[in-house]
Amino acid sequence: MSGGVDSAVAAARAVEAGHDVVGVHLALSSNPQKYRSGARGCCTIEDSHDARRAADVVGIPFYIWDMAEEFHAGVVENFLAEYAAGRTPNPCLRCNEKIKFAAVLDRARAMGFDGVVTGHYAITKEGPMGKTLHRAVDISKDQSYVLGVLTIEQIAGAIFPLGDTPKVDIRKEAAARGLSVANKPDSHDICFVPSGDNAGWLHDRLGSEVGPIVDQNGIQVGQHRGAYTYTIGQRKGLNLSVPTADGSPRFVLKIEPTTNTVVVGSREDLAITTMYGENPVWCGPAVTSMDQRGYVQIRAHGSALACTYRYEKNQLIAVLDEPLLGLATGQAMVIYEGDRVVGSATVCETSA
């Protein structure tokens, strides 16, 4: 229970479904902030208080579990290492993979609980493959993408009571249930970067080594203070000193951490049609080397892109029907068959 509206309603619904429910708030920072500032973060002391009050209203016991060490090792360090390697990670996926449906689920199961209930917008269905993961009915709030890193064993221990309801109705339901968090703003950004200044946070931890920004011919057109603060497809904030001949904008095409170089080029140069992913996770039968038609999603609130996919030589490969402009390595590619999550992998390479 993060202290937000979704987990509060999820807890209430789980109780009504007849489960024996205990509320758990995760302490993910060893030095939490006292108060929320804006919509940032989700693990302040104030949030923990909101979660406790929601548990009181729902009528369940409430505990705080200290997962600060696990979170640091499994999420924060990975986040830093990925940026340092020139990739763009998504820490919310790592948190689901390593914390909520691993450390928490394992601990809960050992203690005699059957599963972990969360306020994610997603649906699970029992079928011949077992319990599978599907998109929520409220597509604008669908979170199946950030759950796409879970195995079928993890999904077996996951309960998502909100997937069948639009978010607006969840807020109404929260108000009707007397939950004071009914109108609490959604949290955005990265919870462990409470300032919201991702680049500044990375600078503090990875240093600020000045390096060149070059065009595709290797000609320097600007300089930067740390290649890792850029992301593929980025246009703003490049501060280039040499404009293009025709004045057209330039975009980040490539980040080379070993030489601390950022490569820029035209919009057309961003286009890719094939993506390759490593470390795949299947939420059901494994993908084979036979071509399959389906969809791939590469951002939390991105659209489903029609593709042909296969698994070959330890890589999940998706070939898009239409080219895509800009895809950062490190992002998760989640494959869908209709609304069902087939599996996911971490993008390690792209090609035009």
Binding site: V22, H25, A27, P32, I45, S48, R52, P61, Y63, I64, W65, D66, A68, A103, D106, R107, A108, A110, M111, G112
Partner: protein, 387 residues
């Protein structure tokens, strides 16, 4: 049926205290007022003061009512420090196992008032190191402003050699304060015989109400106040007399002291049954402070290797059994107990420890219930820890 084994945190009010309090709640009149209602309230307070003084073996004028044990500790430590700092004495001596209501004001004196805090360590059984104190006083006695050592520890129940502390301090004329919040009503306590300068009591630890503490401060000794106002309580503590809480404090104190011996005998029997059963079920468990010379009858602090205390607390709670572990930080996260760390535990074993504290309502059935669920709780907690 719920089983409450957290009496060291707070214990149910005794009937006589509830009666005294509710009766007083219906009475009108500020006890500082000169009219009939005021005088009547004041009379009840002064009778309570005399009753408490008799039970603690001090003079009535030495009793200062406060809003809590924490306030009494703060008043004593800061007040004694300030009153002696002018004479150039800035060393505050505490033990490593004090409650946060002493640790934190000591730290504050260091951070804001120029105090040097010297911490006396404890041995593996949680008894303070008298040799360290002796040496400190021998070398730097003339720099010491105040010594504050608790009478009985709240986590282990281990009783500290306060009489010897006072003897050492007397040689250098150093005032000694003792936090007696856990010991009062559990072991004999005489302010006069111990020769203390000040001690602290808290109402809700022995069957009285919340929100009332007592600072016993030696007669004639004036220290700076924390709260300034109407000047009640020797100009050291201002605030309208809390008559309902004061009379209830006295009633509970009377009950606790007069029934101390029989309750201790009963609790000792229950405790030994509990420890025997516990060690039979979990042979590698061990009792912290077990070898100390004197321990409160009601406290069992036990380490269950291979577990984590917050898991144990949740599993016991689910069985309707209430106990506790160390203290939680402001974010609500269990921290390894500083008391156990001072006794030589590492982080892991300190986090594997629980405190069961028995009290005046504890029964043999309570102990049987805990022993009944213990094997399953430990098994699950160990599995959760292996994840």
């Amino acid at each position: 049926m719920s089983v409450y084994l957290d009496h060291a945190a707070t214990t149910p009010m005794v009937d006589s205290a509830i009666r005294a309090m509710t009766e007083q709640l219906g009475k009108l009149g500020n006890p500082s007022s000169l009219h009939a209602e005021g005088r009547s309230g004041r009379k009840d307070i002064e009778e309570a003061r005399e009753q408490i003084a008799a039970l603690v073996d001090c003079q009535p004028s030495e009793i200062i009512f406060t809003g809590s044990g924490t306030e009494a500790n703060n008043t004593a430590l800061k007040g004694l420090y300030w009153s002696r700092k002018t004479a150039g004495k800035n060393v505050v001596v505490i033990s490593a196992i004090e409650h946060h209501a002493i640790l934190d004001p000591a730290q504050w004196l260091h951070d804001h008032e120029g105090a040097e805090v010297v911490t006396i360590g404890v041995d593996a059984d949680g008894v303070i190191d008298l040799a360290q104190l002796r040496e400190l006083i021998a070398i730097r006695g003339n720099e010491v402003a105040v010594i504050s050592i608790m009478h009985a520890n709240n986590e282990t129940g281990v009783v500290q050699p306060i009489a010897q502390v006072v003897e050492l301090a007397n040689a250098a004329s150093i005032p000694v304060h003792s936090d007696c919040v856990q010991s009062f009503g559990k072991v004999p306590l005489s302010f006069r015989e111990l020769g203390l300068t000040a001690l602290t009591l808290s109402g809700h630890k022995f069957g009285g109400p919340l929100g009332i503490g007592v600072l016993v401060l030696r007669r004639g000794l004036e220290i700076p106040a924390l709260l300034h106002g109407g000047g009640q309580e020797r100009e050291i503590r201002s605030g309208t007399f809390n008559a309902p809480a004061i009379v209830a404090f006295a009633a509970a104190a009377q009950n606790a002291v007069s029934r101390m011996q029989e309750r201790n005998e009963w609790m000792m029997t229950l405790r030994e049954d509990f420890i025997r059963g516990l060690l039979a079920d979990v042979p590698d468990a061990y009792i912290n402070g077990a070898m100390a010379q004197e321990r409160l009858a009601g406290i069992v602090n036990v380490t269950f290797p291979g577990t984590e205390s917050d898991t144990l607390l949740l599993l016991f709670d689910a069985e309707g059994i209430s106990c506790s572990a160390g203290s939680a930080c402001s974010a609500g996260v269990q921290r390894p107990s500083h008391v156990l760390l001072a006794m030589g535990h590492d982080d892991v074993s300190a986090r594997s420890s629980l405190r069961f504290s028995l009290g005046w309502t504890t029964t043999g059935e309570d102990i049987d219930r805990v022993l009944g669920v213990l094997p399953q709780v430990i098994e699950r907690a160990r599995a959760a820890n292996l994840r």
